[in-house]
Symmetry: C2
Amino acid sequence: MWYRPLVAVAAAAPFAPVLSKRELKCDGFWSKKSSGAGCPTAKPVKPVSPVPSDIDVAQSVTPVLVKEVFAGAFGLKDQDILSYGPYKGKINLDLWEKLKGKPNGHYVVVCGINPTPLGEGKSTTTVGVSQALGAFLGQKVLTNIRQPSMGPTFGIKGGAAGGGYAQCFPMEDFNLHMTGDIHAITAAHNLFAAAIDTRYYHENSSSAKFIWSRLCPADKSGKRQFEPSMYARLEKLGLSHKKHDPNLLTEEEIEKFCVLDIDPNTITWKRVTDCNDKYLRKVEVGLSGSEFSKKKNEQLKRTTSYGITVSSEIMAILALATDLKDLRARLGKMICCYSRKGEPITADDFGITGALAVLMMEALPPNTMQTLEGTPALVHAGPFANIAHGNSSIISDLIGLKLVGKDGYVLTEAGFGSDMGGEKFFNIKCYYSGLKPDCAVIVCSVRALKLHSCEAPKIVAGQAPAKEYREENLDLVEKGCANLIAHIQNVRKHGVQAVVAINRFSTDSEAELALVKKIAEENGAFAAVVAEHHAKGGAGAVDLGRAVMKACEAPSNFKFLYDAKKDAIKTKILKVVQEVYGGADVKYSEKAEAALARYEADPAISCLPICMSKTQYSLSDDPKKLGAPKGFTITVQDMYVSAGAGFIVVSLGDITFMPGLPIKPAYYKIDLDFNHTPPRVVGLS
Amino acid sequence: MWYRPLVAVAAAAPFAPVLSKRELKCDGFWSKKSSGAGCPTAKPVKPVSPVPSDIDVAQSVTPVLVKEVFAGAFGLKDQDILSYGPYKGKINLDLWEKLKGKPNGHYVVVCGINPTPLGEGKSTTTVGVSQALGAFLGQKVLTNIRQPSMGPTFGIKGGAAGGGYAQCFPMEDFNLHMTGDIHAITAAHNLFAAAIDTRYYHENSSSAKFIWSRLCPADKSGKRQFEPSMYARLEKLGLSHKKHDPNLLTEEEIEKFCVLDIDPNTITWKRVTDCNDKYLRKVEVGLSGSEFSKKKNEQLKRTTSYGITVSSEIMAILALATDLKDLRARLGKMICCYSRKGEPITADDFGITGALAVLMMEALPPNTMQTLEGTPALVHAGPFANIAHGNSSIISDLIGLKLVGKDGYVLTEAGFGSDMGGEKFFNIKCYYSGLKPDCAVIVCSVRALKLHSCEAPKIVAGQAPAKEYREENLDLVEKGCANLIAHIQNVRKHGVQAVVAINRFSTDSEAELALVKKIAEENGAFAAVVAEHHAKGGAGAVDLGRAVMKACEAPSNFKFLYDAKKDAIKTKILKVVQEVYGGADVKYSEKAEAALARYEADPAISCLPICMSKTQYSLSDDPKKLGAPKGFTITVQDMYVSAGAGFIVVSLGDITFMPGLPIKPAYYKIDLDFNHTPPRVVGLS
């Protein structure tokens, strides 16, 4: 009664291009590029029209054992992948030792215009282009995407595995627990939260002397020992030279060592849950009798909140860490609160860094999966792009670029528009990885561009789009292209080639598609190509795939938008606002100014890149301003530092860290179908 | 940079008994029983004295690929186990179809006397006997133990993989995330919690008509459709005949269908976290603006609490479900609260059962691991025995008894004493599985029995035990045996043979050990045997293993203590109190009486077995009453029903559902050692 029959490798046909050899060789460039078989397990889908539901499509295709996919594409051996069941696994990081000297392949980031309720198909395009390259154009290719949060899966949005005939699958594996990485983050994050509150309690109900007797108990002979996890705090206090004998500490030093002196009003470390639970947006904790301090004659309660797990700084760290040692070091630097004297208190001060690293250890290797057409995918880390940096992991890209080899392609998705996940891909992810992208794909659709015209009717949830979206309207398309142009220019400002993917919908007219293509190519796009992978799989994205390949051959001159180390924090923010958002100026709330002064004074913080937390729906900080607004002033409401992840979060408004459930959440449709043998999952989307 | 080198099968020696053939054949019984090789991957440990720390012992032994362990022991094929990395995996439940007609092996439960701070070594003995049977006595054997909560791992207690040279390992896999089963419970439990609060919010801020328009929206032609997940509620309301057309419902029926009418004061469904977080014992949720109801002009906040994940009813369900369909059915029956009219509201009423089942689907197959001596182990489910039923999963035992075959042995551990996990093993777990145990092992130690004399000095945390525990004192031992006798009698009352395992400590004298043996055997034990598996591995438990084998051949006449279906709830409680605890009578609080009246009136509830929630430290409800107290009256403080798990919880006092962190939690010692290649985990215990 396992839930999916195990499939022998034989079920997967060898590489089987649907394009004729002549077609592949019609141009010298292609014959040069498509010399090797891309992916031996590749097998084109057989599309049905109209396209069935995503889960029906996914369940109509027989997956290959994931080890076979990676063995076929990259020659990986059995021990290079640790299977987690038949269709998901983890890269054995030992592999890095073998790969690290090898050349990198082409690095392609996929982002979009500002998203609309109509959906542009960004994940779908990331997967579709991969399927085209791997299953039709004979290229070594790897899709690197984010692991979705389970909150939206059971809430409103559904999963994020792509759609139609361009999906990463099996969906049950992709959208549910995967290999437990997000759960590991929840566990590590909440252990730290428990440690903070409990330490606050102990410090306010016990004497420093008593805490000392517990932290460094004396044995019969009076000898004491520090745990190695305490060395970091000793170093911070300038007491490293005494680390081999706690008895050398003076009474004052003991007090300093034992009492973190947490200011409860400065605790920014929330708790997290991977669930849309709006009741946890604001909570009061510590209300039981066990949190009453007799010493202070006070209930040591506190108002705090929960965020969704993907908003955790630990998620950002997982996405940015380059190896296990780097992961541990970043975890130790996380600031959770400040002392009453205003000094930052970090995980290292709690002696908890090692435990957090141990909890995160197995989450570090990227997860191996496959696309519907049997090409390989890595699914790893899933920070949201509106509250965090919105990109899959550096480690996936580092490994992936070696795996595909010099002539191969890694496609990696950046969340939301080029102003959000895109900008952060360039200035945060590439800043820490040292990798240089060759090309950015900007996904748009005719319908979405019409909405960006600011003249088309609003989209109302649960209602069919107005006729403007279903009938040809070149005027709306042209006006809406202002948004697309802004995104092309953003990509070009980073020195990267931009390929526009026009995701075709059945209501689009040829003239509308041609107009978008023309405008895009006139405004700096290397190419703009209509794609139909949702309906046709990789076969529908062959032209787009070719354009991406050509763009990767074109000169690229990647550069950061700002100099993280030298620019003042305000300068970095202004550059993003003016050059990426098209705004004029930046105002700061009093709270933001105060934080800024503190951060600007600390060279370990002022040197960090910035991570803007703003609405994804507009280039501005107002979700209603569609198209390409100009001349606006944005307001920085708050700032905080993710010192472990290594960026300063600049909050432009109330972006919720915790989604809610609607009256009819997605869970109403999700079930097991016992009429099917073995039982199968229904209702995932 | 994987964290443990992958080991070829060749590293494991074939079955290598350290006992000579003559020794094995010294008695007709043994030669009959030890005809087949028990476990080809078995390989005796080479003990070092003094015994190093648990993690050092565990890391000194090279594990075998877990697939090889199960292939060797039971002939399992590659597809029968789904690997989760090299050393843990999951049984493919398809296997059940092949196994179900086969005969069961011998079924041995391991429990203890009432636990003391000195530790008796119950998990250690469960593993030690398995190692003896599998690696030294040539038997087919399987160890079935619980997955530990990560709360205590990072809090006080440490893990629960056994100890010394009798462990289930690798410890990093065992004590950390394993394959994510506990995380799946957290996710499912908290999704349900979010659904309850959010539904309460929606019902108090929207009209029934609006909710209807969302739950069953009309399409353009006015047609509506129920989701299959809504059928259960329709059936409850007597509206099943209208399930194919929502438009048939009258306005009153629509109101009934849409409005669960949750009484917020009756919500017993907490949230959970797998972390010792005392600040969550009592919390207030729903404090943000998004929980303000304009309709009611009221902040819809609520005081609630968190329990540790293993206390979740979903954990109990995982442990008791016999297959996926049963799992789903039990989830649907979980009662989370009552309507204002006093009707129970279940997961089925929320249309969330299918989603919960999908979240739990991959947690249902048991996890495969191994002991230090290469014998197979299943690790699955981990309810605490003081707040839940305290046993590993039924599904592990069902599969295990088939795997070991007619002549083989399954050793399964029940939490705490025979009064706690033991009683619940007999009257809850066996009640639902239909399995009959052949033998119970009761673990004790001389030191712990001395404490049960009630005359030995107290044990103070952090201080060495007093001299009474280190020097021979036959008087204290004899008095303390009163506790052991009570446990032997409890097992015998269930018609099961009792074998006493006297876990040897270096301070025990031969006379003390002999005295315990004599008293135990005079008081109904089939045998009482000194064991030294902690120091010697299976070789130290060969005599104990032989005693267990002989006991399994002796007549067994398993019976329940009470008739769950016919006895009144108070009768069931009185029987447990008088016959297992040795008490005289039971008092009920007003609250308990009220709940009892409600449950007694509902035949679907009154027929359930009972699950006592009481201190593990005493046979009574007072943790200070050691030994074998008599004539006491216990007080039932509260009762609640776990209708999905299928038992009535009888709470005898404030047992915390959420442990806390001490001043120096275990996490201070846990870290990664980067001086080792690959980096290794240190500090787990």
